[in-house]
Amino acid sequence: MPLEIDHIRKTYGKFPALGGVSLRAEDSEFIALLGPSGSGKTTLLRCIAGLEVPDSGSIRFRGESLLAQKVRDRRIGLVFQHYALFRHMTAAQNVAFGLRAKRGKERPNNRQINARVEELIALVQLDGLAGRYPSQLSGGQRQRVALARALAIEPRILLLDEPFGALDAKVRRELRRWLRQLHERTGLTTIFVTHDQEEALELADRVALLKDGALEQVGTPEELYHQPATPFVFEFLGDVVKLPCEIVDGAAVFAGARAKLLGGSLTRAGSGLAYVRPDAFDIVVGESEGLKAVLRDVVSAGASARLDCLFDGGEPIEIRAPHDVALQLKIGDRVTLRPREARVW
């Protein structure tokens, strides 16, 4: 087991940032630390890098304790959220920094350093920009310099703090794909922090979802999406509509309409609160078994149409439907909404 994080606790004053987090990473695994801001994900990352010292717990790499080592001896590559490039050094000098900082026999000679820097600059596709200063590079380019700089020390683990946080949407998607390819090529155990669930689900082999300094669920993106362990996981990974229901014979019943209860749900008879994805509704024009509402507005831009409805009780609800379904509806129509599937905790 390359990386074993055991019961890491960290408090700032009285604020508990991490309350006993344990996580394991396999060789070459790509792990996302996902969570809202203040969930402790960056603190955990900084504990692994050595920039924060946990109050208790252990972090081991192939059996040896990382906490016993100084930051400079850990050989863990860290790409900072705002890159933290050395502003008075060129891209090439930034990349070379870690090589020049090596001591004694480990330190390569100038020719070797130059060759390695050239190789890394080519790896991150910055050929021709090696002589530029950080202020002369775009956000995406700076991020790749930061990555090359971290890779230069041949890190045992690569850590990325919100790697796409400061970039615009298009550059973000390109870099995401590129980073995934780079990971496949280098095979380096990588942990990245993000608050964007889409990013985590798309990029990671496994996702660790944090809330208030504790792990809510760890699993593959499929597991998290299809078998959420807690309402928080379900809500964090997508939009949710919450509706009261009755549980009868292992199904959720909404005003006479039956919906399938998804795996892991509570099935004990009684009333409960159902969590439904906005796109898991059948929409029927007119009144029948199900939740009665009036269609107030249709927003048909995007992958699916958004329908704003108003329940007869006066509560608003927003659901999503394919465009062909939305086209058959008019604003002001009376509709019946029938959830297809739901989760109850």
Partner: protein
């Protein structure tokens, strides 16, 4: 002009602009330039020969020497202190940090005369620690060590104050990055921290130098005005003036003014030459 540019809603009326510029210029001319010019005119009133004669007097020569000596000790001390204080305040969290920050500004708000008196209280023959040093043959008050101490105290905020805002803005990420890349504290300091603040440090040192050479109040209290021994340039100017030796007084004063002007000139040249680099250092 046929086309009239429409008045911008955010632009103030021209009369306000010109009034403000006028007031500022008038003020600078009357309060700053006129006295400065007067110094040079008075110094040269009796011709070049009298002007240069003023510097050949042994007491004047020793005053210049002493001023340079005091500056050469006080400025490096305050540079090291300023760097250490700025580093401590901006890169670490510790108890009493805001108190220390406030304390650094103290010499700017306290009258230099008081700073001088404090040293007299501490180190004079009747002072708290004075007898201890005097018993061991070390004279502080009415001697060079006292002048160095007083000058150091009065000028110690200048380097730290230039550095602290910049270092605060730059944060500690680059130092952290250097550590993850395997660099030790000294390497990080000399290759990352110091180059990032080199201009602010230069300006701080220049200001500190200008101030150290010109310090009068605190030095006046501790020096004892022993002509040719404990008299710095500003004190020597006073002595000459009190002796109605106006030409010599203004000649020494003009040299002091020249030091100050050169210091400011160097600062201005550096600023304009490295404008781009300065801006880059402040960008985050």
């Amino acid at each position: 002009m046929s086309d009239k540019t429409p008045a911008s809603p955010t632009r103030d009326p021209p009369w306000l602009k010109w009034t403000l510029i006028g007031v500022a210029l008038f003020y600078v001319l009357v309060v700053l330039m006129a006295p400065l010019l007067a110094v040079f005119i008075e110094a040269l009133r009796k011709g070049e020969a009298a002007f240069f004669a003023a510097f050949q007097e042994p007491a004047a020569f020793s005053a210049i020497q002493l001023t340079l000596l005091v500056t050469a000790i006080a400025v490096p001390l305050n540079t090291v202190f300023g760097l250490a204080a700025a580093w401590a305040i901006t890169k670490f969290d510790f108890f009493g940090k805001s108190f220390l920050t406030t304390l650094i500004d103290l010499p700017l708000s306290v009258s230099p005369v008081i700073s001088g008196l404090v040293y007299v209280l501490l180190y004079s023959i009747h002072g708290w620690f004075g007898p201890f040093f005097i018993d061991r043959g070390i004279e502080i008050i009415f001697a060079v060590p006292g002048i160095v101490l007083a000058t150091t105290l009065v000028t110690f905020p200048y380097v730290a104050r230039e550095l602290i805002p910049l270092m605060q803005q730059q944060g500690t990420d680059e130092e952290a990055a250097a550590a993850t890349l395997g660099a030790g504290p000294w390497r990080t300091f000399f290759l990352v921290t110091l180059p990032n603040v080199k201009w602010a440090l230069t300006f701080g040192v220049l200001l500190c130098t200008a101030r150290a050479m010109g310090e009068f109040g605190a030095v006046s209290v501790v020096s004892g005005h022993i002509r040719g021994l404990t008299s710095t340039m500003p004190l020597h100017v006073e002595i000459l003036y009190n002796e109605y030796n106006f030409v010599a007084a203004f000649a020494i004063a003009s040299l002091l003014a020249l030091f100050a002007l050169v210091t400011l000139g160097v600062k201005a040249v550096l600023e304009s030459r490295f404008e781009a680099e300065l801006a880059a250092a402040e960008r985050t």
